[in-house]
């Protein structure tokens, strides 16, 4: 692509803006065979050596290894390099590593750039070495173009509030809170139920050691309740969270309990109350009063009124509890209230819900009384449960003589359930079988129907063998149906014993469905509160599956327990401690450096139109459109999405490290590619770029068509960029970002949508084929969607003829003025007279006071 054809001239802006002439080093990595296996790294390095301003280029086996990093340092010194490009893996993985390397050698770390030739190239073109190598060269050329224009930056630091917010008070949330509180940090725990404890409080015994669940949990619960550093917000909800790492503000809704903290949980009120409702804690197997305490060990140990069951707040209607309470703790006029807290870190520990087996019609759960779930089983065998620990058939309250367990109910299923394995139910059933043995001996017949027994943890296989030694029969095959035998409520199971390949019909007095776990039903709400991502199975996505397993993609947010994926108590607690440690590191340091990628205003060019301020999701821009003072960015509030820079029609606001010139440099080099099916791709850092990485990690193969340009947010992508790509001759352009509700910059991607829609309209008018510009929302988990989109776009690209490209160029040249041109004109004008000077003086005066 020649410069004349761009419709813009590289003029002064094109030149490297620093004083020193750029001296660039390019380090191409083999990554063992990970890259070298499908990309000819030597030829990429040779090619890099021919690029302008590159003074050293070479290849290494493992650039991230110590010798690899030492080579970079040595070459910087030896060749006086002031810019470095590493062509290796994703910047999301190793940018911090190499920034550290160049910094050690005395370079400014912002003059470093990565070309992702692994996740975005070698791994997704495993069988096309030629195409992959060509693409790698393009990616390196794009990186070199950008690095030439990178400027040194100074980072600023922001204070980190030393208070943490833990959402969810299950065993994971409790553990995380205690660890942080013991390290001296203040912790707020928000729990939506009236008591903390989560699922573990409901379980009878725990595998593999068979401890009594509440006996080991209750001390932790009360420790959390009494800890001077912990504030519990039970029966509460987080309404909103604003801010950024180190400085979040959360609004918490305290729902009215109608009982004050003066309650001593004597229970006089409940004795007086006559209104009954099913007890949620016992899953409706028992009843409670309208004024109740969820369970004996509840923390806080405080009663609560369920207003749906209560006869009414009007004392005339009832008010018996109020009269019964000597401490006058019943307050029927209590209102919901909202409190606001400032926190530096957030830990998400919202746990799981249990699969609802009514969705499986053939098992008739909820219809046949003696078909129960494992959770109900836990309550039935629990001494504190509705039957004081006696396992009885709900139909006749007698102990069953035969019990069948059905495994994988709602798990490992694409229909009526979830595709994943729920991790705990095999061991839980084995535990339950031994509990039955303990209580009722070998007279009670137990059959377990399963597909695979997953006893993978420490001590698990032992427990499995114990169960088999105790005469529990494990039958391979999942029942096709349960039908109730009329008259006696016995349950008839029809099942293929897949080991023998024979269909058996057997009757049982009780059937226990080993239900799986599913993402908490309000996980979506929490997801949007914190702009998190969830994998296709609904659990929260971690920043990196191996190296950052408890970090959320949003900085300052951590995950633990079943919220991240189904797991047992031990793993939940381990993760909780890990999350607490990660949050503690941040808060212990007391401050974090923020990347120098915030916006700056060029007051000379600013016309005070206020467009930038309108689109900034953080209200970080002040501009007085009436007084015509130039815009001003509040750096501490700016999150660095770059939406303003894309919006400004005069090129007057820049995003540091992602300037127009830098990105246009990448565009120009990308469109110079030989690939006839080129898909010039813009991807936001958090979702789409990560999604493309995920496709790479998963080795999803696609044509080598994409040249990805990373911006922090898709809001950074301007109309100029897209049209420049087309004017340069790109057959297709893909704009990708986070799904609309998942934007990491609140809602900056709404601007992306608007811009692309505007472009489509213009294309319609101008007669450019609309499908050549695509918009795709790709989350970090949607590698497959990225693959699909690129494959589809490259097909479209192939249909674009040279003639069509030529026409497109002409159309754009006729109809569109690029910013660069306008800026050049404005600068020229200013060289004559300086109409902005007066405003500038005014602004200075204002800022001075």
């Amino acid at each position: 692509m020649t410069e004349e054809e761009n419709g813009t001239s590289e003029g002064e802006e094109g030149k490297a803006p620093t004083e020193e002439a750029p001296r660039i080093g390019v380090f191409v990595c083999d990554c063992g065979l990970n890259i070298a296996g499908s990309v000819d790294t030597q030829s990429v390095a040779d090619y890099a050596g021919t690029l302008p301003d590159v003074v050293w280029a070479g290849r290494q086996k493992y650039t991230c290894s110590d010798p690899g990093q030492m080579l970079i340092e040595d070459m910087i010194e030896e060749h006086d390099l002031n810019r470095v490009v590493v062509a290796s893996c994703s910047p999301r993985l190793h940018e911090p590593t190499f920034r550290g390397t160049v910094e050690r050698a005395g370079m400014n770390k912002y003059q470093f750039e990565m070309a992702n030739i692994r996740e975005h190239c070698s791994w997704i073109h495993l069988y096309d070495k030629e195409g992959g190598t060509d693409k790698a060269k393009d990616l390196v050329r794009m990186a070199v173009a950008k690095v030439r224009l990178l400027e040194p930056q100074e980072e600023t630091k922001v204070r980190v509030e030393t208070t943490a917010l833990v959402i969810g008070g299950g065993v994971a949330g409790i553990q995380a809170a205690l660890d942080l509180a013991d390290s001296g940090f203040k912790v707020h725990v928000v729990e939506k139920e009236p008591s903390i404890g989560g699922k573990m409080a409901q379980i009878d015994k725990t595998f593999p050691t068979m401890d009594c669940s509440i006996c080991i949990l209750a001390p932790k619960m009360s420790e959390a309740g009494n800890h001077p550093n912990i504030t519990l917000h039970t029966y509460s909800e987080v309404q909103s969270i604003d801010g950024y790492i180190g400085n979040f503000t959360a609004k918490i809704l305290h729902k009215a309990r109608y009982v004050t903290t003066d309650c001593t949980s004597c229970g006089d009120c409940a004795d007086a109350c006559e209104q009954l409702a099913p007890n949620e804690f016992d899953i409706g197997l028992a009843t409670r009063k309208a004024i109740y305490i969820p369970f004996a060990q509840a923390v806080p140990s405080q009663y609560i009124i369920d207003m749906n069951t209560c006869l009414g707040t009007e004392p005339i209607a009832c008010g018996k509890c109020k009269d019964a309470c000597e401490r006058e703790a019943v307050d029927l006029e209590m209102n919901d209230e909202v409190v606001e807290i400032d926190v530096g870190t957030v830990i998400v520990a919202t746990g799981v819900d249990v699969y609802d087996a009514t969705a499986i019609p053939e098992y008739h759960y909820g219809e046949y009384p003696d078909v129960i779930t494992t959770m109900e089983f836990e309550r039935l065998v629990n001494a504190g449960g509705p039957t004081s620990g006696h396992l009885v058939r709900p139909s006749n309250m007698k102990t069953p003589k035969t019990v069948a367990f059905i495994q994988c109910v709602g798990s490992r299923s694409l229909k009526n359930g979830h595709p994943y394995c729920s991790n705990v139910c095999c061991m839980n059933t084995i535990k339950d079988s031994l509990l039955i043995r303990e209580h009722y001996g070998r007279d009670l017949k137990i059959d377990v129907y399963y597909m695979d027994i997953r006893a993978f943890g420490k001590g698990f296989e032992d427990l499995y063998n114990r169960s088999k030694a105790e005469g529990v029969r494990f039958i391979r095959g999942i029942p096709a149906s349960i039908t109730e035998v009329p008259d006696n409520h016995d349950l008839r199971i029809v099942v293929e014993d897949t080991s023998l390949g024979r269909v058996l019909t057997r009757d049982y007095e009780m059937v226990v469905l080993s239900v799986g776990m599913e993402a908490a039903h309000d996980a979506e709400k929490v997801q949007h509160l914190l702009t998190l991502s969830r994998t296709s199975d609904g659990f929260f996505l971690e920043a990196h599956p191996k190296l950052k397993p408890v970090d959320a993609p949003t900085q300052g947010v951590f995950l633990c327990g079943c919220a991240e994926g189904p797991k047992d108590i031990k793993d939940s607690v381990t993760q909780a401690s890990a999350a607490a440690a990660r949050a503690g590191i941040l808060m212990g340091a007391g401050e974090v450096t923020v990347e120098a990628i915030t916006a700056v205003v060029d007051e000379d060019l600013c016309t005070s139109c206020g467009l930038c301020a309108k689109v900034c999701p953080y209200h970080a821009i002040e501009v007085d459109t009436k007084a015509k003072t130039p815009a001003h960015v509040i750096e501490a509030a700016c999150a660095g999405c770059g939406t303003c820079a894309a919006e400004c029609a005069f090129g007057a606001i820049h995003q540091r490290h992602f300037t127009d010139q830098q990105i246009e440099g990448q565009i120009d080099q990308a469109t110079a590619s030989k690939a006839e099916d080129l898909v010039l791709t813009f991807a936001c850092n958090w979702c789409s770029y990560a999604g493309a990485d995920f496709a790479g990690v998963s080795r999803m193969q696609m044509p080598p068509a994409a040249r990805v340009i990373r911006t922090m947010c898709s809001g950074r992508i301007s109309v100029d960029f897209v049209l420049r790509a087309f004017a340069n001759g790109a057959p297709t352009v893909l704009v990708s970002g986070c799904h609309l509700t998942d934007c990491h910059y609140i809602n900056a991607n709404q601007q992306t949508l608007k811009r692309v829609e505007k472009l489509w309209k213009r294309f319609d008018k101008w007669g450019i084929r609309k499908e050549r510009l695509a918009l795709a929302w790709v989350s970090a988990a949607e590698g497959a969607k990225f693959q699909e989109t690129i494959t589809k776009m490259s097909e479209i690209a192939k249909t674009v003829t040279a003639k069509e490209i030529k026409e497109t160029k002409d159309i754009i040249a006729r109809n569109y003025k690029f910013k660069a041109e306008k800026m050049a004109r404005a600068r020229a004008k200013k060289a004559g007279a300086d109409p902005g000077a007066a405003n500038k003086a005014k602004a200075k005066a204002k800022n001075g006071t």
Binding site: I478, P479, S481, G501, R502
Partner: protein, 577 residues
């Protein structure tokens, strides 16, 4: 086109009749006619070399399937001969021989062939001259008719293979280890079967087998093992496994499978595989239903399936935007004459309902059989032809909406045609019962009990496989039945988990199938019903057949359950408001 062309339904053109050498298949009984032909030979009587004789012990062995089968494979004429009435060596075997010929003629004409191509002649052992004369005359008749229009197309090899392959009641115990390897084409079919049905996902839970109503009665048929054999690469075993013909294609296993393996489709593809490996199985009733459909699948033929529309003062309007697709199972009455059931009733009553709702549909005069049964028995070629001809003809009516009464037909048009022809059907498909519920909601019509319904007791509704699991119409029929005030009771297996009537795609009517049918009737009885309403005329037929054959002796109670077509039930009780 060169040579003779003749549209059997219309004008005969014999351009160069001189070259035409008719081929006639002659079936003779051993005792009279074969001996008569011998006698003609001994006496050196001369007649055209046009016949190929197939010897049977008795003309009672004749089945209409043999006759239509011979025509389908290209014979220009079929001649049947036996002992004179009264002389039968098996008392009155020749009477059923005569019935077979009459049925064949009737069906051939329905399928658009000239009935004169089939000829019956009694010939005794001493009537050599009569035999020679008959051949001579019949050959001349055929000469006049010209070549069999179907003979112009290459015969589908799998059809020939089928004719030579194992018959349902001859199915032998299969020794898997002796199966030869599958051919290359076979492997291709299997690979596609895996991809398209997701069979590779199977996690061996066994639910399909546990729920399969066939396995419960015929354990040799084992759905899960079929998938597993495929996974293990035992292709040959699959191709030669004759148990696959027992599947009802009822879809229960698909409902049960947790990982969405489309097992019925997998079995269907195995059937295509078996056919391609020469391992097809002739369907029940001599495969006559499939043969009939195949006869109708040739563009040279113009079948006429509209006889039902001639009775009952039905109103049609060729300009209407609604077309009625009857799915008329005309052949049934001919095939199973001893079951008392008027197959014309269902389409007729559906149109009666439509008329009452104020709709005068287009009569779909060019309708051919939907091909449903061919599809589910793995005959992709003939099905493909029917699909494109029917879809095109339906569009040619100019209507926007197609109304169905037969759930099989609706499923075939709505779900299968677009896939097989590769283009959308272009018409909205609705079941007549959906229009009834709509009209009920708008309070345009009501349903009233008939005077003699009083005291008849409870009704149960049988979800036919296609109506329920494939069309998803569970509530509408129930709503309509309850609207009359009749008491509706449910059988143990209902809705998505309803058991099949026992015959799928007319492939087998074996002991398992009959047990299954009986079990369904017992379920109805146990539910306290003495009437069973079903939306599918095939189900009606099978249940009635069960009752008139073995149901009565085994469990007398099931005999009392009256089987009623949904369309008939509704038509009789619908009133305009």
């Amino acid at each position: 086109m060169t040579g003779n062309t003749r549209n059997d339904a219309g004008e005969a053109i014999a351009e160069d009749g001189g070259d035409f050498k008719p081929l006639i298949v002659a079936f003779t009984c051993n005792w009279c006619s074969y001996a008569g032909a011998d006698f003609a030979g001994i006496s050196r009587m001369q007649y055209p070399a046009s016949i190929r004789v197939v010897r049977l012990m008795c003309s009672g062995r004749m089945h209409p399937g043999f006759i239509l089968g011979a025509l389908e494979m290209g014979a220009d004429g079929v001649m049947v001969s036996g002992c004179h009435p009264g002389d039968c060596h098996y008392t009155f075997g020749n009477k059923s021989g005569q019935e077979a010929v009459e049925t064949a003629i009737e069906m051939a004409e329905m399928a658009g062939l000239n009935g004169d191509r089939i000829h019956l002649q009694w010939v005794s052992a001493s009537e050599g001259a009569l035999f020679a004369r008959t051949v001579d005359e019949f050959t001349r008749t055929i000469n006049g008719l010209g070549p069999n229009p179907l003979g112009r197309e290459p015969v589908d090899p799998s059809v020939v293979e089928m004719a030579c392959s194992i018959h349902e009641d001859m199915t032998v115990a299969f020794e898997p280890s002796q199966a030869p390897e599958a051919t290359r084409e076979g492997l291709e079919v299997l690979r596609e079967a895996f991809d398209s049905t997701h069979a590779y996902r199977c996690i061996e839970c066994g639910k399909c087998t546990g729920i399969c109503p066939v396995n419960a009665r015929y354990p040799a048929f084992h759905p899960r093992k079929l998938v597993i054999k495929g996974m293990y690469g035992l292709d040959g075993e699959l191709a030669y496994d004759h148990t696959i013909w027992a599947c009802l294609e009822c879809g229960l296993c698909r409902e049960a499978c947790r990982v969405d393996v489309d097992l019925p489709e997998f079995v269907r593809r195995l059937r295509s595989l078996a056919r391609s490996e020469g391992q097809g199985e002739v369907g029940t009733h001599g495969g006559l239903i499939h043969t009939f459909d195949r006869l109708c699948s040739h563009s040279h033929n113009e079948p006429d399936l509209t006889s039902w529309s001639k009775e009952g003062r039905l109103r049609f309007d060729p300009r209407s935007d609604t077309v009625f697709v009857s799915g008329y199972a005309g052949a049934l009455e001919q095939i199973i004459p001893d079951v008392e059931y008027d197959t014309k009733a269902s389409p007729r009553d559906a149109v009666r309902i439509l008329n009452m709702l104020g709709v005068r549909p287009v009569l779909f005069e060019t309708e051919r059989p939907s091909g449903h049964d061919l599809y589910y028995t793995g005959d992709n070629n003939a099905f493909g032809r029917l699909a494109s001809m029917n879809a095109e003809a339906l569009r040619a009516t100019g209507a926007k909406r197609a109304v169905f009464v037969c759930p099989e037909t609706m499923h075939t048009y709505r779900d299968l045609y677009p896939v097989v022809t590769g283009e959308p059907l272009g018409l909205e498909c609705v079941h007549v019962i959906e229009l009834v519920t709509e009209a009920l909601a708008e309070e345009k019509v009501a349903l009233r009990m008939l005077p003699n319904d009083q005291g008849l007791g409870a009704i149960t509704y049988h979800d036919s496989c296609r109506m329920g699991r494939m069309l998803g119409l569970y509530d509408e029929p129930r709503q309509v039945i309850e609207e009359t005030g009749d008491e509706l009771v449910e059988m143990v297996h209902n809705r998505g988990y309803a058991d099949c009537c026992g015959v799928g795609a007319w492939q087998r009517c074996d002991p398992a199938s009959r047990q299954l049918r009986l079990a369904r009737l017992v379920e109805a009885h146990e539910a306290g019903a003495n009437r069973l309403v079903t939306p599918c005329s095939r189900c009606t037929f099978h249940f009635k057949c069960q009752q008139c054959h073995d149901g009565a002796e085994e469990t007398p109670s099931t005999e009392d359950v009256e089987i009623i077509d949904l369309a008939t039930y509704v038509a009789e009780r619908l009133v305009k408001l």
